[in-house]
Amino acid sequence: MNVGLIEYGAGNLPSVERALARLGVESLRASSPDALKGCDALILPGVGHFGALMRSLGERSLVEPLQRVVSSGTPLLGICLGLQAMFTSSDEAPGDAGLSIFSQKVSALPPADRLPHMGWNQLRRVRPSKLLEGVPPDSYFYFAHSYAALDAGDAGVAYCDHCAPFVAILEHGNVFATQFHPEKSGPVGARILTNFLQQASLPLPGPQAAGREADENR
């Protein structure tokens, strides 16, 4: 199985690479449209700035190819900023368009508590989740962010509460994303990655609704 880490200069790509290596999974770095096509599963890592991420993807001509491979059914896991990039836009960079896989937007968390939301927090599960299979309900995950998706419709399967309730895990067809960093979340984070890879190794169910949403938004 070819697991591609989308390379656009994100600082945490090596961390994700190491986390996969600990699971015995060799990944490759995908930085061109052609490289995306050859992958059985894709991971979009991310730390930093929404606008910088979208511009970097744009400079590498990866935006449309990424939307295309995802709408054709390739499993995609977005991590942290990689989750936020799946929305249409973000308060962090009002002028920059996101990947628009989901129709909502990313908001600045209201300053009701300390920000950035930095450290280990628990999740509130609201729908059945494939990524959380076998993960104990009281588990902690590592977060480091000041922006979040407050709503993702039915795709929001788990929420976290800090300053406001926000989407911690997204699942919609072949599209998965976590606002926390599974690669930094100890054994339970490793389980999340394993669960994602398991989805990727299943027979492809064909084009997914999440992909069609991306098409409509284009």
């Binding site: 600082g11 600990r22 508590d113 930095m118 979340s185 054994p187």
Partner: protein
Amino acid sequence: MSLARRIIPCLDTDGARVVKGVNFVNLRDAGDPAALAARYNIEGADELVVLDIAASRDHRPTFLETIRRVAAELAIPLTAGGGVATVDEGRAILRAGADKLTVNTAAIRDPALLTVLAAEFGSQAVVLAIDAKRVGDRWEAFVRGGSVATGIDAVAWAHQGVERGAGEILITSMDKDGTRSGFDCALTAAISRAVSVPVIASGGADTPETFLEVFCEGCADAALAASIFHDSIQGLGALKRYLGDHGVSVRQTG
């Protein structure tokens, strides 16, 4: 359900090895950073800090290699620093595998550095480290490993640092550092009140009670310690069980 308070072991290194000593004198070897990192990763550390206390330009490649070796052992976040003065130095540390970097002396010399680093890497990756000492009725910031007084009020500096872009404050009490007499709760609480970002308390860690105090009275979001963990005076698991039993939200492991 709430954000857990973090327990953070700190590895002070000469670039390559973990060292212990006071004010850079009588440094003695305290082990291999990667081996200690592997141990703390399993024992339930919430994060790890690795510092280059020598911070000489000659040793920098060695320190970057140390970060790489440490990062390879961790499934938890890593913060690294020591002598960072430019964006390029910050980038090298993050590329080597750190999630966050600390800045201290260079930020006092040029506070705009915080803004530049935050714009480049995001505030969540920029930790402002402040070494503070009680002087009269306030705390003063010191630089160069605590050897040079600045005359700057540490609490006001923390506030300014956050406005400039720091996403977290690492406050070390020089009065308490190495004494094993408890954290400086008054200093930590003053910093916590002055800023909107998370605060890591450092200096004076001893018994589980001292951690409970710094979380309750000091309003710390995280507590950092070195020798009590390196010397196995305090186990991470037992410390977290004690804190959990006393109503502090912590991530229990194992």
